[in-house]
Symmetry: C2
């Protein structure tokens, strides 16, 4: 990196740490774009993170997560916290276009400088979204945002990745969704620190709450050694939000008291290191080195070389790159 | 690998290629368990794959994918094809326990030796599920299964990964799901080669079909240079299945005629090489080398070292491993 670029990174990092909203916005744009400038910024700010309470909020499509996050942000703002929100959107692997629903729905909060909201969109790279989201969390953390809410849309691997970023994971359900949805829920049941049954004024809410509580007793004990609470909410009417805010704060205190916080931080570190290493590999293959990789990929596609042999060749190629920088 | 282990791999590979169902089942169990034995088997069988038509079937929770796959398998079996089915289940990152719903629902087909059904479960490793699924597809392919259906539950990154494994991607919708679901659909619209609106006897089916067709005209043109068809089905009553079977076969023929098949094979190769390289990194960190990685991760967790620096250290460590084998 040239001296001028390095100075630009330093300047932005300083302004961001001093609380400049404009610097934070610019830094997040860098992070989304990726590349060496983003990496330098993330690397410089990394030592200044680790203070914020990172709260992951996830659940089935249609569960009203965005409304819930909005209500939670208002509850936290009422106590003068400076809040960060990262909305992770599913997006096309080809166009990179994000879905704007959440940005629009969040609008009424964007007039408050104490709330910083950012939508993240994957650029299709494997692990790219989680990696960029992790850096975005660090930037908000270094900028003094606390708590930081990370909301994902979708189910599956996303939930697992969030778990590794967040200290407290809130899983949102609603009464009366179909069998398949409940089946997927079973897969993410274990990553929840707090369960919310949203739209709890709907028919069947008591049954959903009861089923969740019953299922939770069947899971292996968690590192924080307790059963996650199951809290009813009607986010659209702001009902049940204050008990949820309290439960989230209490969970963080519990993690600190039991030492589980350190364990979770190590898990986060492990996930991030792997994601970054993977990103370096993907960049090597798709970027400037793409031309070198192509004949190898053609041989794999023609079944003349196994993907295992090609992967080892790639690793040996990238190592020099990574160390040379 | 010892001579005896290598002989065992050879023997299994031979029996599997000769069509032994027992050998295929055993090979898939190896693949799910992972490790050097699985890698040796996958590597040995890789040159013998590439013949089967791999069909990915994906869509929202509750869309009736499993019922659809079951009906499709029956339609294909009626024409004497030897079929493979891989059901990819969401699963817990902690227990590794799969959800058994699909296995149970598939039961009526398991008495037919011409249908081989396998559920895959992630072991929580990043990229582990896609990687194991890719190897499972290769094993079924080398065993002469054709077509091979890969069904995923869930939405998001899973769909993108399937796209890279399958030559034909079928996305299943149902009438009358909520806004959020449709928003997620927008993210996977572009990976569909064929759209199915299942449960098409429900109210609103015509509107859903019309909306899908309207959205498809807005997308960038695909490599096969056509608009994906939108087909109504009632899988539970086996209605619309034969037109779907024909559309799937026609798509494969189109890919061959346009040369898009070679492009997709190269994409598959790229994804697989990256996944395997990533897997080697993850194994190095979690496996025998885990003890060496731990102090580094502790430093990252304590914010004394950045995850970027740790990732570069990891890459430089693994390279030697990979080459030494």
């Amino acid at each position: 990196m040239h001296a001028r670029a390095a100075a630009e990174v330093n300047e932005l990092a300083e302004a961001l740490r001093a609380g400049s909203v404009r610097a934070l916005a610019r830094g997040l744009t860098w992070i989304e774009a990726g590349g060496p400038r983003a990496e330098a910024l993330a690397e410089q700010l990394y030592p200044h993170g680790g203070r914020a309470h990172v709260v992951g909020i996830t659940g089935s499509p249609g569960s009203g997560k965005s409304t819930l996050v909005r209500a939670l942000v208002r509850a936290v703002r009422a106590r003068d916290a400076i809040v960060g929100v990262i909305a992770v959107d599913p997006t096309s692997p080809f166009t990179g276009g994000a879905i704007l629903g959440d940005r629009i729905r969040m609008n009424d909060l964007t007039l408050d400088p104490g709330v910083f909201i950012r939508s993240m969109a994957t650029r299709g790279a494997l692990g790219g979204l989680s990696r960029a989201t992790a850096d975005a969390v660090d930037l908000m953390d270094a900028a003094g945002r606390n708590p930081i809410f990370v909301e994902t849309v979708g189910v599956g691997q996303d939930e697992v990745d969030i778990m590794h970023l967040a200290q407290t994971v809130v899983v949102v359900s609603v009464p009366g969704l179909g069998d398949d949805v409940q089946a997927i829920k079973a897969g993410i049941l274990e990553i929840a620190d707090i369960h919310v049954v949203n739209k709890a004024d709907r028919e069947g809410a008591d049954r959903t709450i009861g089923e969740l509580r019953a299922m939770l007793t069947l899971l292996p004990q968690k590192d924080d050694a307790r059963l996650p609470p199951v809290l009813p909410c009607v986010a659209a009417r702001e009902e049940g939000i204050e008990p949820l805010r309290e439960a989230i704060a209490a969970h963080r205190a519990l993690l600190e008291a039991t030492g589980a916080l350190a364990t979770r931080r190590r898990h986060t570190a492990q996930t991030r290191v792997l994601q970054i290493a993977h990103g370096l590999l993907a960049e090597a293959m798709a970027g400037a080195d793409g031309a070198a990789a192509e004949p190898v990929l053609d041989r794999v596609a023609r079944r003349e070389m196994s993907p295992y042999a090609a992967a080892r060749a790639l690793l040996s190629h990238v190592k020099g790159e990574g160390l040379a920088r």
